[in-house]
């Protein structure tokens, strides 16, 4: 028993040391974030091209365009960009986890509807000064710039514009006796034409398709149907949902009609967005709202026609979506990253890389570039992109309300189309409560 005291003291000392280690680790400031390697403006208006290695993350849906840009940049610059493509569903959590531990790449693209949230959270570095120095600053796509503006400062540039358009399969139209050169001019046309294709009863062929379990696909393709009639889907401050308007109800009932009549591919019901663009490319769908960014891919297998998305009373609108891109807060190569961004906004990249591959340019002053005018479909897309009825919705909690798996928006559209529940008001207020969080 005599030895207890001395061992007790030693034990206490050891224990104290252990606690001290723990306390120190708790009190230590978080490491890894707050890179202060330099500033974005360090290399001037064009940034710095000194052979740095830059990392860039993008979502899978825009892999095609991202690859085109990165390849062209790497071929003509000393800096080399390493592109990581992330599945759409995992992008938010991947960015979140990286941001929380200071592990964001130099550059990362963000679905434009997430940009307000991530800008507010401070994930991007301030680009206002640099953007203002660009000679064409005034003609950069307003919707995207505004999404990435917080308290008057601009943090995000448009990366790749993706617009939703109504696409139809001309071959199937011919077979169904429809005019292959004219798509639907109103929502009612859309319903009739889709049913006509379904009436062909070709094995595996259906009138239309949509991502029935995909919130992001839903906002991308259905919002323009409401906008085309001049109606809004969100309150201007992005905290209230207006998706219980009469126009919206008309849209829901048209889709329900299509589903009940069997004109919609049954696989739509479970589609979480992983495969919603596949069937049209395989020539199995007559007409559906579709991403314009996949026009060149579709052209490989389908003879496709393009028209703006109509509403119940006609008109035409599009969802000006796609991704914005910025320099992350964790980047240590800000000037080099800006070099990529300023090149990306230049005439060379916009026309010779994006437009040359049937993509939409992010600058209004280049809308009638030499490539665009060659394809009347691209002209139509550019035109509708500039229409006042085409919008980029802005809300800080957009992702939680609409895109997140199992969001209240997905509940609403599934209730309306599949589950036959007539509770629009209830589902809509669920959306409002998430928006207002």
């Amino acid at each position: 028993m005599i030895s207890i005291r001395s061992t007790g003291r030693r034990r206490r000392r050891a224990f104290t040391a252990l606690v001290a280690v723990a306390a120190v680790s708790l009190a230590a400031c978080s490491s890894g974030s707050g890179a202060k390697g330099g500033s974005v403006a360090q290399g001037g208006i064009n940034g710095t091209d000194d052979g740095a290695s830059l990392t860039l993350w993008t979502r899978a849906p825009l892999e095609l365009q991202a690859n085109q840009l990165v390849k062209a940049y790497n071929a003509s610059h000393k800096n080399q960009v390493k592109l990581t493509v992330v599945p759409n569903d995992d992008y938010v959590s991947k960015v979140g986890a990286a941001a929380g531990s200071g592990g964001l790449p130099d550059l990362f693209a963000a679905d434009i509807v997430y940009v307000p949230n991530w800008t507010k959270a401070g994930l991007f570095q301030d680009l206002t000064g640099q953007i203002n120095k660009l000679p064409f600053a005034a003609s950069i796509n307003k919707g995207h710039l505004t999404a990435g503006t917080y308290r008057g400062k601009e943090y995000v540039l448009p990366f790749i514009l993706d617009l939703s358009v109504m696409m139809w399969n001309k071959t199937l139209y011919k077979a169904a006796g429809l005019d292959p050169n004219k798509g639907p001019a109103t929502l009612a046309d859309f319903v009739t034409q889709a049913k006509a294709i379904a009436a062909l009863h070709k094995p595996g062929v259906y009138g239309t398709y949509f991502g029935g379990n995909c919130g992001g696909c839903g906002v991308f393709t259905w919002f323009p149907m409401i906008w085309a009639s001049g109606k809004d889907v969100l309150s201007p401050d992005g905290t209230r949902s207006l998706l219980d308007s009469d126009t919206a109800k008309q849209v829901y009932s048209d889709w329900k009609d299509l589903w009940k009549s069997g004109a919609v591919d049954p696989a739509s019901k479970d589609d979480t967005g992983a495969t919603w663009v596949g069937p049209f490319q395989q020539g199995k769908i007559g007409v559906m709202p579709y991403p314009a960014s996949l026009l060149s891919t579709v052209d490989k297998t389908v003879d496709a026609g393009v028209t703006p998305i109509p509403g119940p009373d006609g008109g035409g609108s599009t969802f000006v979506g796609g991704d914005g891109i910025g320099v992350s807060k964790d980047s240590r190569h800000e000037a080099e990253a800006w070099n990529f961004l300023s090149w990306m906004m230049s005439d060379d990249a916009q026309v010779n890389v994006l437009a040359a591959n049937d993509n939409i340019v992010s600058r209004g002053d280049l809308a009638n570039n030499k490539y665009a005018v060659k394809d009347p479909r691209v002209v139509a897309i550019n035109k509708v992109a500039a229409s006042p009825d085409s919008k980029t919705p802005i809300a800080v909690n957009f992702q939680q309300a609409f895109n997140a798996p199992g969001s209240p928006w997905v509940t609403l559209l599934r209730d309306q189309v599949f589950n036959g529940k007539d509770n629009v008001a209830q589902d809509n207020s669920a959306i409002t409560s998430v928006l207002g969080q």
């Binding site: 061992t7 007790g8 034990r11 680790s25 708790l26 230590a28 400031c29 978080s30 490491s31 890894g32 899978a60 849906p61 892999e63 990581t84 493509v85 992330v86 599945p87 759409n88 569903d89 995992d90 991947k94 986890a97 990286a98 929380g100 531990s101 200071g102 592990g103 992983a274 495969t275 919603w276 663009v277 596949g278 490319q281 996949l294």
Partner: protein, 289 residues
């Protein structure tokens, strides 16, 4: 070992010859069907990974096209295999080292706080993974170990400690004291006694602990999902899970099946080679509660 000896319940003399076979055929059919149910999905996945499927890299004919997809996916399958190997290797080394010393301490020594520490170690089992992962995410960041294979391995080691420490403790306790006493009388310190005399005796326990640590680290999914954000550092399970959503329009099931084959192969090989340790590990699960 318990797994290999079984008593017969209510035994009757078995009818020999054809009559017996005829009577027992339904039994063989039933149980054969059971065996097929359990083995079929694995074989199916293996065969599908090399067979022709639309929507994959292996549309016509048999071949390794799907495995080729894996090689060219992001950083390439070899990178992910290497990551998994490093993580598993580190976890095994840490777990063996810590549990060897810890088991020795608990089995052979008496020191203040011994029971508290042992109970605390076992208490890790009572706390769900999810409860610990959120603060671990923050803690690793503060220690500078965020997004690192080393940090992940340390966390995985901690999760292995209850089983490993318990396993090593009972391994040490089952070694007769005379062995150690003889070594100590000869003038060895306790450490030398551990290395020279006790280590060979507890080797079966060590193999079991190492095996389970390896399998747990190789197969863990949620921990790297939360703690690793750099896709070049992904271990295999996370990489294969992410691979599915990569191509817009089609889910590449062929590549998924190939990924499962790569994931499952070491596990099945280890299972077959070390079946006895495997079973023994499960049994201690029964005893420890």
């Amino acid at each position: 070992m318990a797994a290999t000896t079984y008593r017969v319940q209510g035994a009757r003399p078995r009818s020999a010859g054809l009559t017996g076979l005829a009577l027992r055929t339904p039994y063989y059919v039933l149980t054969g069907g059971l065996a097929i149910i359990f083995l079929f999905p694995l074989f199916w996945a293996g065969i599908r990974s090399v067979s022709p499927q639309p929507g994959t890299a292996q549309v016509h004919g048999w071949g390794m096209g799907n495995y080729n997809t894996l090689v060219h996916y992001q950083s390439g399958i070899w990178q992910f295999v290497m990551n998994s190997a490093v993580i598993s290797g580190l976890t095994v080394v840490f777990t063996l080292a810590v549990s060897l010393l810890g088991g020795y301490a608990f089995a052979r020594f008496s020191f203040p706080g011994k029971n508290v520490l042992f109970m605390l170690t076992l208490a890790i089992l009572m706390v769900p993974y999810a409860t610990l992962l959120i603060p671990l995410y923050v803690l690793l960041d503060r220690l500078g170990l965020q997004n690192s294979l080393l940090g992940l391995s340390l966390v995985l080691t901690m999760f292995q400690l209850p089983f490993a420490t318990f396993m090593m403790r009972i391994s040490f306790e089952s070694v007769p004291r005379e062995l150690e006493e003889a070594a100590l009388v000869d003038g060895c310190g306790s450490f030398k006694a551990l290395l020279r005399v006790l280590l060979p005796s507890v080797r079966p326990g060590l193999v079991t602990v190492g095996l389970f640590a390896f399998l747990a680290a190789w197969n863990d999914f949620i921990t790297p999902l939360v703690l690793i954000s750099d896709s070049t550092k992904w271990p295999l399970p996370v990489a294969i899970a992410n691979l599915r959503g990569l191509v817009m329009g089609v889910v590449d099931y062929g590549a998924t099946e190939a990924g499962v084959a790569v994931l499952a192969l070491p596990c099945i090989v280890l299972f077959i080679l070390l079946q006895r340790q495997y079973v023994r590990g499960f049994m201690s699960g029964a005893i420890k509660g």
